[in-house]
Amino acid sequence: MLPTASSAPGQPETAGDRDGRLGVRLADVGVVYDTKDGDSVEAVRSASGHIADGRFVSLIGPSGCGKSTLLDVVGGLLAPRSGTVTIDGEPVTGPRRDTAMVFQEDSTLHWRTVLSNVAFGLEIAGVGRKQREAAAGDIVALVGLTGFEHRHPRELSGGMKQRVAIARALVADPRILLMDEPFGALDQQTRMFMGRELLRVWDETRKSVVFVTHDIQEAVYLSDEVWVMSARPSEFTAKVVVDLDRPRGPGTMSSRRFHDLTSQVWEVLRVESEKALDAQRELEP
């Protein structure tokens, strides 16, 4: 393990949680997939970390390093082979109502309208139609889809579908939001715009967020911390604390500090990618 690229003296923990019991805690999480042909793939070797209540943490790392896998583990969809995940001190044994996920792949239900897609989680939870549609309507406005409530996913752009997925995650007002490359399919401009929108929502609600991305600037711009993962089998190689002021805006990205932090992340990531490439070369004859 490399030393933490930037130590975090006096990071602002949520008041009343000085021992750090609240939030998501990963302790030596390891995940091994059994493949169909009897082989096994060690996706994550040993991941440890603490996402304090209300913090925005980004995961970044080479493709295939196990980011989605880790989110599945935190979301209670996948049991780790070793180690534990706790939320507020309780071990995660399955999906929780106070955790919401935005998946990497499109997960809109194509036979439902935007509104009923957004309300889907509440419907599953047994909330009555009037109530859930009212709640969904508010969130639809929040993500800027007003006017599209009764459209079907096929009538939406990729970015709008992503917003539907984000709205669906937000509608039940979860405490923990797990987002897997939610802006992956978007062009640069829309990405920036969506990032700002996400921050606006987050500023109002202060949920804990785990945000997977491949975009270093996006990670630094949005997060309190950027966790860099090594190539598979992965662990966290560095955790960069982003001490940029909030609320962030267009000025943030032109600041000196922003530039320093992105190059710091980039440096760790570059070393990792080279290691991954070297490992591949050794395998070749």
Binding site: G94, R96, R97, S107, F120, H152
Partner: protein
């Protein structure tokens, strides 16, 4: 069957030839398509004077009309319709849950799929004498024949459709702590519906064909029996009238199911 289904579906999106297509006006294709049955009708009309074996289209249609006015067609029509209806509903009701079960379990698929797929090439009609031995000639045997014929395509397409439900949607369901029944009703069935409908449509056409074959072989009643009876007494206009009705009925049934499939695919 599935191969061609996918192939046909692929035809819509497949890139065409590189040669510059000749420019056509939008009405030309529908017009050409419409011309096909008209030309067939014309050919039929032209053949009529050449041979005694083919009555003129007008005579055939007049005979069919008389079937409805004088009522000689109703008994056979009712028999065929009820055998197809009963058998088709029975086959679907049994095939759908079994297909769902099969599609949701890798183990069940691994056990049963090769068996079901292996019998794909077996002509189902060879089982008809067995059904006749069990039920005797009549509605039961024919309905059973229809049910068996419809069963396999519906089973296979339901299993495949359920198996192909997008994993990310299932993941969503689990992350929301949906109960199995909720996952079935709100995710799997709506997502799989259009493909299941394809199986139901194919099942219907195979079942209809099976019913006609069964009636041609042994029946108390039905359109197939009307065909073989009128052939036996060489009442050709009547025979052609019933053949025409059978074709129209098959076409209408297919069109209806195809329309339902399109609706599902859109919604």
């Amino acid at each position: 069957m599935t191969t061609t289904e996918t192939a046909v579906a692929a035809a819509d999106t497949a890139p065409r030839d590189t040669r510059q297509p000749r420019r056509r006006r939008p009405w030309q294709l529908p017009a050409a398509r419409l011309a096909v049955p008209l030309l067939a009708l014309l050919a039929w009309q032209l053949i009529d004077p050449v041979t005694d074996l083919v009555p003129a289209p007008a005579d055939t249609i007049r005979e069919l009309y008389s079937g409805f006015v004088d009522g000689w067609i109703y008994e056979g029509l009712r028999a065929t319709a009820s055998a197809v209806g009963t058998g088709f509903v029975l086959g679907t009701v049994v095939a759908f849950p079994l297909g769902y079960l099969m599609g949701s379990s890798k183990t069940l698929t691994a056990i049963f799929e090769p068996l079901v797929a292996g019998t794909f090439a077996v002509p189902r009609v060879i089982l008809y004498p067995i059904l006749l031995a069990v039920f005797g000639v009549g509605l039961e045997a024919e309905s059973a024949m229809v049910a068996i014929s419809a069963f396999f395509p519906i089973l296979m397409s339901t299993a495949a459709a359920v198996r192909n439900v997008s994993p990310s949607l299932l993941k969503l369901g689990r992350s929301l702590s949906a109960r199995p029944l909720q996952i079935a009703r709100k995710i799997v069935i709506p997502d799989a519906a259009p493909s299941i409908m394809v199986g139901i449509r194919i099942g219907f056409s195979i079942a209809f064909i099976a019913a006609i074959i069964a009636e041609l072989f042994a029946a108390k009643d039905g359109l197939g029996l009307l065909i073989s009876q009128s052939y036996a007494v060489l009442d050709l206009p009547r025979m052609y009238a019933v053949v025409l009705l059978v074709m129209l009925a098959a076409f209408a049934g297919n069109l209806l199911l195809w329309w339902a499939e399109r609706r599902l695919r859109k919604a």
